[in-house]
Every structure is written in structure tokens, then in C-alpha cells.
Amino acid sequence: MLRRIRALKSISALVLAGAVAFTMAGCGSSDGSAGSSGSGGSGGSSDGKIVMGFSQVGAESGWRTANTKSVQESAQEAGIELKFSDAQQKQENQIKAIRSYIQQKVDVIAFSPVVESGWDTVLKEAKNANIPVILTDRAVDSQDTSLYKTFLGSDFVEEGRKAGQWLVEEYKDSTDPVNIVQLEGTTGSAPANDRKAGFQEVISADSKFKIIASQTGDFTRAKGKEVMEAFLKSNPDIDVLYAHNDDMGLGAIEAIEGAGKVPGKDIKIITVDAVRDGMQALADGKINYIVECSPLLGPQLMDLAKKVVNGEQVPTRVVTEETTFTQEQAKEALPNRKY
């Protein structure tokens, strides 16, 4: 009996301790958030220091790193306090980061969604907390467009179209069928879906263009190489490779060389992004055409953030300025390339 009482006592002590710890943690966090909202919200009006929470996809490529740097540098220049988190390609990390920004009561949240779907709940939470959200680089497929203020980024469909237009122009004098293989980005991601759709839209006007194989290469060199090896074996007659980013294209180049063919000649290669390694391959003649997808959207983002926080109206879609590169243009542009 005595033992039982003792056990009960220790249990109740534990529960009590837990409860105390919990309330203390509660106090702590509410204090913390109150403090940060004080410095963020009210501070925002007095010393003009806007607090931005930014959730990056990850650091999967040189492109992404340049994007991160651009955001960080322009935040500093614009005098915006940046809270940065890296989601390492996982949606749940990104949702966690956004929730923590909501708790910290930042003035504005910006993020590049890892995938298109599944954002409604967390974006509603942000809306309820009256924190404006800016999407950068990638879109979400939510029906409710009031969940975010604006979407700043490249038009991936347009990028796909540009790639297709070059191809149509390149083969305008020929009537032979053109066999195309496609290396898609991560399945379900906006750039993969849109670059595919835009490309398809342009080439479907002429029935000589045929996509004979299309697989995901997860935007990585290793996968790009592996998938291209399989394509080369199961499809002996490939005229064109369309890769949704430079890295997969670079992996595929190795596979093509391994098969004893000449990349850029035997198989024409079109990629999207224009990172340094890709531009180098373009200048070397191994890639034929690159559609630029510029990561340097930091200045535009900070500009939009200021307007949104001040309650100004902003367009719901802002497109980053981009161009395309042929082999000659790549040789010129390469020395001044930032990323």
C-alpha cells in the first residue's frame, strides 16, 4: 500500500512537473512571439525594418544556390530582416518552417514550394494570422488565389514554348520525323509539369515531332545519366534530347558520349536553366540551346515585399526577366556569368 502511494506520488509529481514545464514553455513562446512581433510589427512602422520569413526548397543545384544568394543579398541591401530556412526538398519541412514564421509573426512570408499541391491548410493559417504570402519561383495549384498576394517567378510554360520554338525553327526545312526523348524534372513539380506542357503545345502543331520516350530524371545529373543510358538502348534512333534542366542534360551528355555518339551533333540537346556548367557545355558545342531560367529574383522580391507590407496593390503574377542562349551567345555571356 505504502509503495503504491509512493508510486502515485511520484507520478503526480511527474505530471505536475510536466504541466509546469508546459506552461512555462507556453509563457516563453508567447513572450517570444510577442517580443518578435513587437520588433517586427510595430518596429516595421517606426524604423522601417520589415521581417521576412523565407523558406527555400533546398540547395539541389547551382541554380538554387544562386537564387538563395540573390535573396539574401538583396534583403540586406533593402534593409529587410531575413529569416531563412532550407527545406531540403521536403514539403513537411517547408510547412513546418512556414508555421514557425506564423508563430514568430513575421511581416511577410515568401517561399518556393517543393511541390504544387497540398498547401491550402498552411496558407489559410497564414491568412488568418494576417501575414501576406509571396510565392517565388514555383506556383501552387490552390483554387483559392486569395491565399497568396502574388507569385514572382519564371513562366515555366513559356520556357517550354521557347524550347519548342527553337526546335521547330531548327527542323523547319526537314520533313523527316524527329524523334525526341525528354528528361522530366521531379514528378509533380511545377517546372516539370509546365516545361513539358509548353514544349508539347508548340511541337504538337507539326506531326513530324514525336516524343518517343519521357521519364523523370529528378533534376539530377546521376539520374539524368542513368535514364539516358536506358533511352539510348531501347530507342536506337534519337534525334533530339529535351531536358528540363541543365544538370540532367549534363548527365545525359556523358551517357551519349559513352554510347559513341556526339552530343550536340548526332543528338541535339535543348535544356533549361543556364547555370555555369550548362553554359560551358553550350559554349563547347555539346548542348545546342538553353532557355534561361533566371534565379536572380531577389531585388524584385524585396520590392514586392515592401509594397505588400505597406498595403499597396501588386499584380498577382510577376514574371522574372529572362532570355535564351545559342552556342555563340553562350561564348559571349560565359565570362560575366554570376552562377
Partner: protein, 362 residues
């Protein structure tokens, strides 16, 4: 089946490698019908070239990681950190090479390889220390490095993809030697060494004994801590070699994506190969077979053109079938249902049972 054949066939039908072999054969058969020239192997630029060669070439890192994993699982442990070690070893080696004055210098590349492998062994030993020395459960102990390791790899590469241009380094994962992919030769060497150490010497018995009951083994005079440390260090080494192969194959180190989820594929390969997750017994041959099944499945998906949206579903289906066939409990159940026709058995279960009946009691 005639009575005279039964005694001859029974050992084959009861062999635990039977089902993995059947599945591998079925996958290859699928390709025979749906892929042009899948079985064509030709000489190109002085080396073998073809889909089958690709399977072993791209499967080599997975086979290596799975070999290490087999021994760890045989000790009733698990190593979740192999994917991170893959990323770290590749990143360190590429970083070293990228800072060499002459990237083609053999000495420099050897140093890079030694650095990568040395760190991998050290990380593996760290896992072993956490498991054997401190007594943390293996899944937790290695989870630490699984999460932290990617961070370390990103730290080494500075979040960038490091591109190198070094022909000696390229040999490891992308080159050929004696017409064979060099990676395969490494795999054969590691496999032979492992098989010799564990099957010709007493080491395999010690590992199985520790996996069966670590405390009893210790009381019987086996230094189970030492065995555990060694096994985890070996697993780290295997992952390190695989990391060098993967990064060498594309001449670049990608801290984020190199070896991502390879630990799951490796565990799957080990399980398909018939090694029990409860420890105490292992099959190296089965593991190699399991890894080859996974890689053949991947290559098949690319070759026959399964749409990317359904790739995972297709993989899941195949893996489910393999695991069900591998499970004695499932086969037993299917078999028993057949003997009680009143039971509502599904059509597929009926078929399974039919085959089983032929195998065991015909």
C-alpha cells in the same frame, strides 16, 4: 510431376533463393517482350555495352551498400546512415580533387580516395561505438548520422555541386577495365573478400551468433562489442566506396541527392535476399540478387516506358509480390486454404497454392 523427379526437385523448390531468382527471371522476361534489344551486348570503344551491363554498372553502388547492410542486419542491427555516408565520401573526394593543381595526378586522386574512405570508416565506427559502446538502439544511433550526415555533406560541398575533371577518378565509377565496368570489378573484389572472411573464416559465425543473442555470445567468450564495431565500420566502408562510384560516374559531387534513399533500397535488397531483419543469419548471395532485382526493376521502368506518375506504384506492386512470395507464412497460408476448399480464397491465392502444392506434395 513424376515420382522420380521429386527428390531431385525438392531441394531446388525449397531453396530460399528460389523466389528471388524467379522474380529476376520474370523481370528479364518482361524486357524480352517489351524492349528492343534488351539482351544485346556489344563491344563499343573497347568495352562491353548494353542494357544488361547497365544494370550491373548502375547497380554496383547498391550492391556494395547492401553487402555492408547485410552484415549489420545479421547482427540484428540496421544502418540508416549509409546514404549520408555515400554523399560525404563523394563530396570529400571531389572537394580534394577540385583543389588539386593537376586533377589528373594519380597520387592526388589516390589521396582523395583514401580521405573519402577513411572518413567513411570513421563514421561507420562512430555508429558502431554508439551501438556497441553506449548501447543505443541501432535505428536511433544511425538515424543521428543519417540526418546530420547530409548536413555534413552540404557543408563540405558548400551547398554547390562540385564538378571535377579527372580521368583517374572517373575510372572508379564510370570507367572500364578489361572490357568490364570498373565498378563491377570492385564489387566482385569486395564480395569475394567478404565471402572469404565470413564463410571461410569463423567471422560469419561470430556475426550470426552476436545477432542471435549478443549477451549469450559474450558469455560464450565472443567479444560482441568488437564484432559490432567492426561490422558497422565495414558497412561505412562499403557505403564510402559506393559514394566514390556514384560521384565518379557523373564526375561531380552532389551533397543533396547523392545516395538519397539508398538506405531503403539496401534494406529492401537485403530482405528480398532472404536475410532476416531479426538477425542471426545472412545470405550474401541473396543480397546481391536482391540488389540486382531492384536495379533491373528501375532499368525496366525506363526501358518499357512506364509513365513517371505511375513508376512508384509499379515498383510497389513488384516489391509486394516479391515479399509475399518470400514469406513462408504467406505461402503456408495460401497452401492451407487450398486444402480447405470451403474457405473463401481469392483467385490469386488459389493459383499460388496450386503451384505450392505441385512443389511440395506432388
Amino acid at each position: 510431376m513424376s515420382r522420380t523427379l521429386r527428390p531431385l526437385l525438392n531441394p531446388v523448390l525449397r531453396h530460399r533463393m528460389l523466389w528471388p531468382v524467379v522474380i529476376l527471371a520474370a523481370l528479364l522476361l518482361l524486357n524480352l517482350f517489351f524492349t528492343n534489344g534488351f539482351f544485346k551486348v556489344e563491344m563499343k570503344d573497347g568495352h562491353l555495352y548494353g542494357s544488361l551491363i547497365d544494370i550491373v554498372r548502375f547497380g554496383a553502388p547498391l550492391i556494395l551498400v547492401s553487402l555492408g547492410m547485410t552484415l549489420v542486419i545479421a547482427t540484428c542491427g540496421i544502418d540508416l546512415s549509409v546514404g549520408s555516408i555515400v554523399a560525404i565520401s563523394g563530396a570529400l573526394a571531389c572537394l580534394w580533387i577540385s583543389e588539386l593543381g593537376d586533377q589528373n595526378s594519380i597520387g592526388g586522386v589516390l589521396t582523395a580516395v583514401a580521405l573519402g574512405l577513411g572518413l567513411s570508416v570513421a563514421l561507420g565506427a562512430w555508429n558502431g561505438f554508439l551501438v556497441a559502446g553506449i548501447g543505443i538502439q541501432p535505428i536511433i544511433a544511425t538515424l543521428i548520422l543519417m540526418v546530420a550526415g547530409r548536413g555534413v555533406a552540404q557543408l563540405i560541398t558548400d551547398g554547390q555541386i562540385i564538378t571535377v575533371n579527372s580521368s583517374p577518378y572517373k575510372l572508379i565509377g564510370g570507367g572500364y577495365w578489361l572490357t568490364l565496368p570498373f565498378g563491377i570489378i570492385i564489387v566482385i573484389a569486395v564480395l569475394a573478400l567478404t565471402a572469404f572472411l565470413t564463410r571461410r573464416l569463423a567471422l560469419g559465425l561470430l556475426i550470426e551468433s552476436v545477432g542471435g543473442n549478443a549477451e549469450a555470445s559474450r558469455l560464450a567468450g565472443i567479444r560482441s562489442r568488437g564484432v559490432l564495431m567492426m561490422v558497422y565500420a565495414f558497412c561505412g566502408l562499403c557505403a564510402g566506396i559506393a559514394g566514390l562510384m556514384i560521384s565518379s560516374n557523373v564526375s561531380s559531387a552532389d551533397g543533396n541527392n547523392a545516395g538519397l534513399w539508398i538506405e531503403l533500397d539496401a534494406i529492401l535488397a537485403v530482405v528480398i535476399g532472404g536475410t532476416s531483419l531479426a538477425g542471426g543469419r545472412f545470405s550474401l548471395g541473396g543480397t546481391v540478387l536482391g540488389a540486382l532485382i531492384i536495379q533491373t526493376l528501375t532499368t525496366t521502368i525506363y526501358s518499357i516506358g512506364v509513365p513517371p506518375e505511375t513508376t512508384l506504384l509499379f515498383k510497389a506492386l513488384v516489391v509486394t509480390i516479391v515479399c509475399l512470395l518470400q514469406s513462408p507464412a504467406f505461402r503456408e497460408k495460401a497452401f492451407r486454404r487450398r486444402r480447405r476448399p470451403a474457405a473463401a480464397a481469392s483467385a490469386s491465392a488459389e493459383e499460388e497454392a496450386g503451384e505450392e502444392r505441385v512443389g511440395v506434395s506432388a
